[in-house]
Symmetry: C2
Subunit: 397 residues, 2 copies
């Protein structure tokens, strides 16, 4: 039986709304999942994240593996108790981060950003069938992560949802390498499932990860391979192409290959722009995670209903210096409802004051939380097409 109970389906798209049940409670879907990268949503208390309307957060296996280490988190009875978040937790596999060190910063490649250099986060020493040997970016020590390591760490972290360890290929890698890498990812999937069956904590769900790069046949084959396994859910990872149009096409291939009958939850990894969330929901994605809203906030960028500017406003810009306006009129977040002007926020952000970073983080997460509430309600009410058109036209969430 699927952990996801689909309660509503949109007649005009693949969108669905429902409830994802985990060992630590339910997640209303479709849902955005904020990053608690290093066991904290940066700058926020867990109760604030819950108050914003979030049901689940995502912890990063790679970072927590290195610091404070899975054993220390296990000493505290897992991530929930360690960070004081009693609600559902999903952890990634560490694959994305570990391969980011090897492929000339795959993280940047995947997202279409300029590479920032392979040494940014340590260094990969070797990649083979077993897994990846690398130098820790924390202390330079030699470490290893393979499918079993990843699942063992995620077991110690006590994640409600674990993602299997995959090889994450960057955009510039060709078809040949992508095909071989995707096959390896499938072999690693089997090893992850075998380890989990033996050692997984009770109730932990395991998601497979669809790879296959930008190649339609590889994506479809990967989706079918993953779906054929006894996974509890399906995540879509790896390179999603050079632009948004290609990303939607690639996600569509994978979800189409799964078919409507597959009621298992689907997670789209690392995607969180407003337009991508809307389109992803229409394509049938149930959950999304992304560093974007929190990272943008730390850099002074707020999410606003302005499609022409990618739903963003850079509050550090000089034009806001004397502005009495809030980030967004009518927004109930602490920054806007607290009466803070763009001028004051700009001053705080320019002076790297924690309060500014925090207020923007709260605003951005509040925005995406409301966006998802609206999308869920529209699916349930059968009004998704009109609602999505409104959002794309600049309506407030």
């Amino acid at each position: 039986m699927s952990a996801l109970q689909i309660l509503h389906r949109d007649p005009g798209s693949q969108a669905r709304a429902g409830v994802l049940r985990t060992a630590h409670g339910a997640v209303r879907t479709p849902a955005f999942v904020p990053l608690a990268t290093k066991a904290t949503v940066k700058g926020l208390e867990p109760r604030e994240v819950a108050a914003l309307g979030y049901d689940m957060v995502l912890g990063n296996t790679f970072h927590l593996f290195l610091e404070p280490g899975a054993d220390l988190v296990a000493h505290f009875n897992g991530l929930h108790d360690f960070m004081g978040w009693p609600h559902p937790v999903i952890t990634d596999s560490g694959g994305f981060q570990v391969f980011s060190m090897g492929h000339g910063a795959v993280a940047d490649e995947v997202k279409g950003r300029a590479p920032t250099g392979p040494d940014r986060m340590g260094r990969v020493l070797s990649i083979d069938e077993d897994g990846v040997r690398f130098r820790s970016y924390i202390d330079g020590s030699e470490r290893f992560m393979g499918p079993e390591t990843s699942m063992e760490v995620q077991a110690k972290l006590g994640a409600d949802i674990a993602l299997v360890f995959d090889e994450c290929t960057p955009f510039h890698i060709g078809r040949e390498y992508t095909a071989r890498s995707t096959e390896r990812t499938h072999r690693w999937l089997d090893r992850c499932l075998a380890f989990h069956e033996e050692h997984g904590p009770p109730g932990q769900l395991v998601y497979g990860i669809v790879q296959g790069g930008v190649y339609e046949d590889l994506r479809i084959a990967s989706a079918q391979e993953i779906a054929a396994r006894p996974v509890d859910g399906i995540a879509i990872g790896g390179s999603l192409g050079a632009d948004k149009a290609q990303m939607y096409e690639i996600v569509g291939w994978a979800l189409c290959a799964l078919g409507d009958d597959d009621a298992r939850p689907r997670h789209l990894l690392g995607i969180g722009d407003v337009d991508d969330l809307i389109r992803g929901v229409e394509l049938g994605v149930d959950t999304f995670d992304c560093a974007m809203p929190t990272r943008l906030g730390r850099h002074g960028v707020a999410i606003v209903p302005d499609p022409a500017n990618r739903w963003r406003v850079d509050l550090t810009a000089a034009r806001h210096k004397q502005s009495h306006e809030p980030i967004m009129e009518g927004c109930p977040c602490p920054a806007c409802s607290g009466g803070h002007s763009r001028g004051y926020l700009r001053y705080l952000l320019k002076n790297r004051e924690l309060t500014g970073v925090r207020l923007l983080t709260l605003h951005n997460l509040a925005y995406l939380a409301r966006l998802m509430v609206g999308l869920r309600a529209a699916i349930a009410g059968g009004t998704l097409a009109a609602h999505a058109a409104g959002l794309r036209g600049g309506a407030a969430p």
Copy 2:
């Protein structure tokens, strides 16, 4: 008529409890005043500061003068509106910071710390009867601050309580220089009062500052000089000696010279250790400000009822790594009531996570807020001696 209404006097000491009325509301005294140095209590929203029980914050004239500048704050109708804090605001004169640049880091000297070098915060170019010319630590531009500048800036900031511009002498300066400097401070006081009479915003209170260094006769003479002027309150500044015993002696000289009949509010500048607050209250101080609780929090040090360790615990210490204990049992602050263990907080602090800094800031401010509530209640109830003895013995506030 004094802005301070004294409601209770402790029979066994000089302590008094009452209400200090300002243009933006009342301050229950004795009170600790958290620093909103650069128009924000670092990491907190104004409503959180109010919720902790604080009635007033202190803004730093020197920092705000340089960035964002008094005119920008005035554009936003003053500090209250700019930072979204509708309650009382006291601003310092800028004297302490400006002279900190000139005397080989007087800030460190006054506090008995090792000097960190005269260039830490820009550089003094000249000091004369007019005021101080210095280089901005922000952009290296040449700036000037004198008595009139300070009062003009504080007028634009819209402070409820302005402090007059004083020369702040360090500990190592001799009697001769201290005497001349104190006389200059008195001449500057007259210029400040003259400027304020002409240009001060309606309802703004002005406090004089007692100087005189570590010399009894100079302190007493200074206190009498200040008290003879039409000031609304009296602050005690400058070097308070090499240790706590000498500090209490010096504060006692000044307050004794004022006498019990002087009902004007008394502010002790830059003092906020738990034992100093207790003793200061007994000596008859009404308000205190200090960077300590917030600064300690940012460095991972929490305030706890542990007199043997200066009421401090360093949560970054390795011994807390596996600790399930809260910072302080029974503490109602967000860090302790939120169930966060010392082990988790240590991890956050070691990894410089904003959430850790914020939780410790909240804890430390919550501790001092409760300390002052307890002291006020004890004065009102006539039990200060027993209450203070309990606190000194390690009772929770």
